[in-house]
């Protein structure tokens, strides 16, 4: 089973066939802008000293994240990572709660218990990541196992990076999923750099997706800057899993356009590489596509930009009003109580 390299999306008709109408396309565009806006504003907050700890962004990965999240069904679940802000945005996490999370405030999804992108809203089917990547892949497989046991038509999406693919969790998760043909899609955000380590020091095959063959399922390499190609391939993989066709490994190729985190200037990445991938910016690329294929008009674009700006401004104001967590509540929730099981999933 050789790896397949996905074609770019040409016309509107191609994505219409994959389930998107014009409103969906504009929503994708808005999600891309909100995603980048949140991270740009977050960077400013960080420089203002309002964000403790460190700060991570997914610049360059917005299309990959939004594309996959758009392909997921409402009852599907996933484990997005620190380059996947677009997943949270697309699933509907309110931006003010993300800013509150960055600042360690009470209204962030983790109420100051954890920081940066270590968050998720379980009500939206998202499971919060940990730092030990790819620790969430076995968890995604477990979600899929639950769906399989209960014979539900739901799919789990597990994210990982090409760097963390070197760890055993990736192997164990994909192997179990392959053996049991579980409804899970593995999404590799391949941004070419694991902190300062390039891909050729991380794995020895041409494509990371080549590994899928070893687990008995299909691997697909997709240009991660092409949000519509990502959507089309993710949609196909998710629906295949839903129909009992087993897992797929999607490798979404991008370049991490900033350092590992804000403290890192990425001096080790060749300047020409940044220049090359800057010309393939996923948002600019999609904007051009919308003008050429979906009759996006200048005034319509301005309206979207104004709406996004308002969302971000309102979110920042509201997040800054969010209180600090109360130290007296420190020990709350170390252990769960039976009432905690009354969630959308624990039924």
């Amino acid at each position: 089973m050789a790896v397949r390299e996905a074609e770019p999306v040409g016309s509107f008709n191609e994505v219409r066939e994959a389930g998107l109408d014009r409103d969906d396309l504009l929503a994708i565009y808005r999600h891309l802008l909100v995603t980048r806006g949140i991270e740009e504003r977050g960077h400013i907050l960080y420089k203002q000293g309002k964000i403790p700890g460190s700060f991570y962004t997914g610049r360059g990965n917005e299309g990959a994240a939004v594309g996959v999240a758009t392909a997921m069904g409402p009852d599907d679940v996933g484990t997005p990572l620190h380059r996947d802000m677009g997943v949270h945005v697309t699933r509907g996490v309110e931006p003010w709660r993300i800013f509150a999370q960055y600042m360690g405030r009470e209204d962030g999804p983790t109420r100051g218990r954890d920081g940066n992108v270590h968050m998720a809203d379980a009500k939206l089917g998202m499971i919060a990541m940990v730092s030990h990547l790819p620790a969430m892949l076995p968890v995604a497989v477990g979600c899929a196992l639950a769906f399989r046991i209960r014979e539900e038509r739901r799919v789990a999406v597990g994210w990982f990076g090409e760097g963390s693919a070197a760890r055993g969790d990736a192997h164990e998760a994909m192997n179990l999923a392959g053996v049991r043909r579980l409804p899970v899609v593995f999404v590799c955000d391949n941004n070419q750099w694991a902190y300062s380590t390039p891909t050729h020091l991380g794995y020895a095959v041409e494509h990371l997706a080549d590994r899928a063959a070893a687990y008995g399922f299909e691997g697909v390499v997709v240009d991660g800057t092409d949000v519509l190609a990502v959507y089309r391939e993710a949609k196909a993989a998710i629906e295949k899993a839903r129909e009992g066709g087993g897992p797929t490994l999607l490798e979404l190729k991008t370049l991490r356009m900033e350092g590992h985190a804000v403290h890192d200037d990425a001096f080790y990445v060749p300047k020409e590489l940044f220049e090359e991938w800057a010309r393939r910016d996923p948002i600019e690329r999609f904007r051009t596509w919308l003008f050429e294929n979906a009759e996006l008009r200048g005034e319509e674009e301005d309206e979207i930009a104004a709406r996004v700006k308002k969302i971000l401004n309102d979110a920042l104001t509201r997040a800054e009003d969010s209180p600090q967590p109360d130290p007296a509540t420190l020990l709350e929730g170390v252990y769960a109580t039976p009432e905690d099981l009354d969630t959308p999933h624990h039924k």
Partner: protein
Amino acid sequence: MAEKTYLQAISDGLRQELQRDDRVFVIGEDVGVYGGAFKVTLGFQEEFGPWRIIDSPLAETAILGACSGAAMMGMRPVAEMQFADFISCGWDHLVTVAAKQRFRVGTPVPIVVRLPSGGGFSGGPFHSQNPESSFAHIPGLKCVCPATPEDAKGLLVAAIEDPNPVLFFEHKHLYRRIKGEVPDERYVTPIGKARTHREGEDVTVITWGAMVYTADEAAKRLEADDVSVEVIDLRTVMPWDKAAVLASVRKCSKVLVLHEDTRTGGFGGEIAATIAEEAFEDLDAPVKRVCAPDCPVPFSPVLEKAYIPQVDDVVKGLRELAAY
């Protein structure tokens, strides 16, 4: 009520939970067709099918991670580690994900990990360990160590009901050696409540797991010295029943902490420190620990006997305390 071995009690408790609750499933290495390395799940796959008694690849992280994911989706997984020792391969998942998810994001992870643990039959360094203190140190995990068949069933039910990750340490040396009356019906033995295995007045032994029986033998020997020994079976080390321990310490004024795990960093140190902090005025002698020495579990029967605390070691400690 019927007489059952410790192993049958675990098996019966698990089967009853599988029968009454569709959310419960079992996953582990060789748990299906083979019935588990110790046969706890013998015949289960015929009864419940291959999607509820799941033979996994040899991959502890996948087993435990899959349990957590399934638990987050509303299932009640029970994982079997073939030997407690192999949980080292799944340490990262338990400590990094399962233990912290409720605290970080409010998501409970109700999983049970069954851990055949303990030595006494030349299992060597990798089939004999008692790693409970390592996990008792991790906020968010619970550690259960039953000593009797009745407790083994009741605590397993409690562990499955519990909304947290619970490590269920079942002592291999007790599996077929210990029998006792076990109620047929479903019942819950609360996690965090100690049990007085033997009442006494002069010296208290705080212990759990297989060492309950070692302590009991030693207590019988001390009767000849006219020393009355109380044996407290902690039953669960996280949470542990501090109130019951302190009450017994106050009653007897002398205390020996006994465990099969190694000494330094073993859970006995935490118990001794708590007694020193909270019952210092009630003590008539320094707290004494009898534990395995700080070395890996050896293979040779002669060496293993020197490693695992023996009745003679406990008798010696009790006599020293009585004479103090």
